[in-house]
């Protein structure tokens, strides 16, 4: 018997699972169109690899992610690409996104399939690449690419591999029916994962409200080292963090991932997809989905192609259109409402509930929080839901964050029990969203500031360089002038003929001398301005001086860095930079001296003042 731990909180909502377990999994009929969103889950959207009008075979790659996190999308059947356009996708916001629409030709003609039943003879990396190529992403939660999940960092050895068969949400039975009917496949896929990760312990967690699935798995695990852990039914035991706590007694650190404590959870559907890839060579083109709710006459589970419109599946389950009041994608605790039945199912879709008005009635109006604390009793993360609610409502986000708002898994247990009918989770989502926006804006502001400072620095540097060049030119000109003068004197000594020219040159020289004097005066003024402490200020501004010194030192360092770079590249401005470095060196020395003087003066001031 596997040792089990309990997680705090949790609720026991009406299960409503029996409605959809009465029938075996049915294969959904081929719909008229298949709509394949380019983004089906977490990560980057895929890029279409096909053009409108192309004929594709079943299992052919039609889109792939070239850059970043993601997996390819495959044609679920053979047919013609009809369009690549913005269409409604399953998303809480009811938004549209890019989708490939495929018109099936009815032939269901496969590409050539390459099973690798003897996967153990392959390199693990090869198998992982195959998994990515087959478009396998987690069929539970957020749809994280499975190949990446199965490649934990070297320092995060997975000691415990968990297969999550808890399926704690009411109504959903997709995993339950899969385990009942396809236990061998589940096990085969799980074994592939185990081979990839080489964990010390493999355990399947399953809630005790699924006796048939437990029996099927028990038979399938007979004689293997895979543990079957039957856990008490309590929502949300299938939450990754909760299941890990139940099966290992360990907690995933806040902000961390299960691999941080040597644990990994995989989904039942993902295991089946793995098995189909390895033993049949098939990419992920279909999944099991529960179609239930009182508005369908024949609720049950369907093996449906990815991209099948929800409308088509509801019809397969004998929808009574006039009965539907609320259409939920996912379970009644964490699912989201759909605005249209035109959306397709994607790799992460596990359930559609067509609920009548009496089945999922509109919540009564929100009453005042009476601080009864039932939410805190129900919270599986041991948060303080009512405090989070006040702070979220009062937009005191800092306090909400301090009370670990971001550890909330939005399981809905608090809202479920709230006697005042407060939509708590909605408040938390709002607060999280606002905080994320604020953070993004802060980041933007920081970047803008950095850019501005960099620009200021560059402008100053350019100004200095210009000054340097100008001085050089002036020096060269003066030298040339001196040479000319010498020549002129020589010429004058040689004869009177050049009188006129020499007079002119004298005038020019005078002008130059005036200009030089002016420049020097300006420089002195600038230095005075730059070092106000040197002027007769009673109380030297130590802070300003210190700041100046740091700035000067920083600039010197930059200059030296540039000089070294220039030297390394044998650039032609090496000597110029050398001079600049020397100049900055002087400046640093000067400022330092000024600072010391100022400090001394301050000390003197202090001395003269103490006797008073």
């Amino acid at each position: 018997m596997t040792q089990l731990w309990d997680f705090s909180g949790g609720i026991h909502p009406a299960e409503n699972k029996h409605q959809s377990t009465a029938r075996p999994i049915r294969v959904a009929a081929l719909p008229e169109h298949l709509i394949l969103p380019l983004q089906q889950h977490i990560g980057e959207p895929a890029t279409a690899l096909v053009k409108v009008g192309d004929r594709v075979l079943k299992g052919e790659k039609v889109a792939d992610v070239t850059n970043g996190l993601g997996v390819p999308v495959h044609a679920p059947t053979s047919g013609i690409i009809e369009s690549i356009a913005q269409l409604p996708v399953p998303h809480p916001s009811g938004m549209t996104d890019w989708c490939i629409t495929l018109r099936p030709d009815g032939e269901d003609q496969w590409v050539e399939l390459q099973p690798f039943a003897d996967y153990r003879s392959l390199e693990r990396d090869q198998v992982l690449d195959m998994i990515r190529d087959a478009g396998i992403a987690g069929l539970g939660g957020a749809g994280f690419p499975t190949d990446i999940k199965l490649r934990p960092p070297r320092d995060r050895k997975v000691a415990t591999l968990i297969l999550n068969g808890a399926e704690c949400e009411p109504y959903i039975t997709a995993d339950d029916m899969t385990m009942r009917e396809r236990a061998e496949e589940v096990l085969a896929g799980f074994k592939v994962m185990a081979w990839l990760l080489r964990p010390e312990r493999c355990v399947i967690g399953i809630e005790d409200n699924k006796p048939e699935a437990i029996a099927a798995l028990r038979a399938a695990t007979e004689g293997t080292q895979i543990e079957l852990a039957v856990i008490p039914t309590k929502y949300p035991s299938g939450g990754e963090k909760q299941l890990i706590q139940i099966l290992t007694g360990m907690e995933v650190p806040s902000g961390g991932i299960p691999a941080d404590i040597g644990v990994m959870c995989q989904n039942i559907g993902t295991a089946v997809a793995m098995s189909q890839l390895i033993f049949e060579g098939k990419p992920l083109i279909s999944r099991t989905i529960t179609i239930t709710g009182e508005a369908v006459r024949e609720p049950g589970n369907f093996e449906a192609l990815i991209g099948t419109p929800v409308q088509h599946l509801l019809e397969q389950a004998s929808l009574q259109p006039d009965q539907v009041n609320r259409l939920v994608m996912g379970g009644p605790m964490m699912g989201y409402t759909l605005t249209t039945t035109a959306v397709p199912i994607v790799k992460t879709s596990n359930c559609v509930i067509a609920a009548t008005a009496s089945e999922l009635p509109a919540p009564p109006p929100e009453q005042a929080c009476i601080r009864c604390g039932m939410c805190a009793e129900a919270c599986p993360m041991e948060l303080l839901p009512q405090q989070l609610f006040w702070y979220s409502k009062a937009t005191e986000f800092e306090k909400a964050e301090h009370l670990n708002l971001f550890d909330c898994i939005e399981c809905g247990a608090c809202s479920y029990v709230c006697p005042s009918s407060i939509p708590l989770v909605q408040y938390y989502r709002y607060a999280k969203g606002e905080i994320r926006v604020q953070r993004a804006e802060q980041l933007k502001a920081d970047r803008a500031r950095e850019r501005f400072e960099a620009r200021q620095e560059r402008l100053e540097r350019e100004q200095q360089e210009k000054e340097l060049r100008r001085k050089e030119r002036a020096k060269a000109a003066a030298e040339a002038q001196a040479k000319k003068k010498a020549e002129a004197e020589k010429a004058a000594a040689e004869g009177e003929a050049v009188d006129e020219r020499s007079a002119k040159s004298a005038l020019v020289q005078q002008a130059l001398a005036r200009k030089k004097a002016k420049t020097e005066a300006a420089a002195t003024a600038k230095e005075l301005a730059a070092a106000p402490a040197e002027s007769a200020v009673e109380k030297p501004d130590l802070e300003a001086l210190e700041k100046q010194l740091t700035q000067a030192q920083a600039k010197l360092e930059t200059m030296q860095g540039m000089l070294e770079d220039a030297k390394a590249q044998q650039a032609d401005n090496v000597d110029k930079l050398e001079r600049a470095v020397a100049k900055n060196h002087d400046r640093v020395d000067r400022t330092q001296k000024a600072l010391t003087e100022a400090r001394e003066q301050l000390a003197r001031n202090a001395e003269t003042q103490t006797p008073d």
């Binding site: 705090s8 609720i11 909502p13 009411p170 963090k241 706590q245 907690e251 995933v252 650190p253 806040s254 961390g256 259109p321 539907v324 009041n325 609320r326 259409l327 996912g330 009644p332 605790m333 964490m334 699912g335 989201y336 409402t337 759909l338 509930i353 609920a355 999922l360 509109a362 919540p363 009564p364 009453q367 005042a368 009476i370 601080r371 009864c372 604390g373 805190a376 009793e377 599986p380 041991e382 948060l383 303080l384 405090q387 800092e398 306090k399 964050e401 301090h402 009370l403 670990n404 550890d407 809905g412 809202s415 479920y416 029990v417 006697p419 009918s421 939509p423 989770v425 909605q426 989502r429």
Partner: protein, 350 residues
Amino acid sequence: MAFAQQSSPHARRARSTSQVMLWVILAALPGLLAQTLFFGWGNLINVVWCIAVALASEAAILKLRNKPIAFFLKDNTAAVTGLLLGLSLPQFAPWWVSGIAVISAIVMAKQLYGGLGSNPFNPAMVGYALVLISFPVAMTTNWAEPALLWQGAPSFTDTLQAIASAQLTVVDGWTMATPLDEYKHKIGSLTAAEVTSHPSFGDGVARGWEWVNAAFLAGGLVLIGLRIITWHIPVSFLAGLGVMSLAFGSNADQYAPLSLHLLAGGTMLGAFFIATDPVSAATSHQGKLIYGAGIGVLIYLIRTWGSYPDAVAFSVLLMNFAVPFIDHYTPPRTYGHHKARRGAPGRNQG
């Protein structure tokens, strides 16, 4: 077709605040029954009167505040406040004393702070403390003599007339000092045996009172069983009181014994129905334990060394003061964190 748009969760448990409050009222009925059986009609009349005044004053204030009256009255919280006052006031408290208690509870302690959920102090106890300080004679001399309803207790009409009269006190033969009062004031000069020979003690711990307390205890256990309240506050309340009694008052010839502390006065009503008012209590488990224990200790201190025979109202109000402080330092440790994040943001990040 337009589908209903709703944020998750879509399923909800069907237990509203109104129902929670209704359960509190139902669970208090055994206590009321015991009070009526052992002390006559006084409490029942008080309860009806107090609930009526509570609903009326709540409605009046809601109207002034332009709030939907029916929506808020239906939450049953005003009724609970009225009920608690009716249960805890002396049986022969004049109608206007209880009226003032209820009106100040609803108007001052609850609605002026923003209504349900916003009041820092237990409204019923604010009303109780106010009339106890303002009308000490009416509040200490009007306790009914323990007499079985069918045997010796004043009739319903007599009781009603006594309550309805403007007099501060009623016919002498109907009232009697409470056991806690009696013990407190006589134990200095008499032995325990002599004190308990007074008719208010009877054969058990405290005549009538022991049954009333037992009935409130039973009702409270029902509330815990229904998960309307948690065990933390009642248990720590009784533990605080019990530990203090055992530590300081083990000599019955000097101080009231533990049995009297537990079974006389408003102990069980306070522990299960008053201190557990969620709005003004601490929130986390740890906080509730501190809060409840604090009330228990304060009750002992005031009963033993203070000038009032009973002390539930003052103790609850004093600990209400401490709630924000307790809450600030007793957040639970969140899953995945090494320790709880105490205090304000920016400090003690854990």
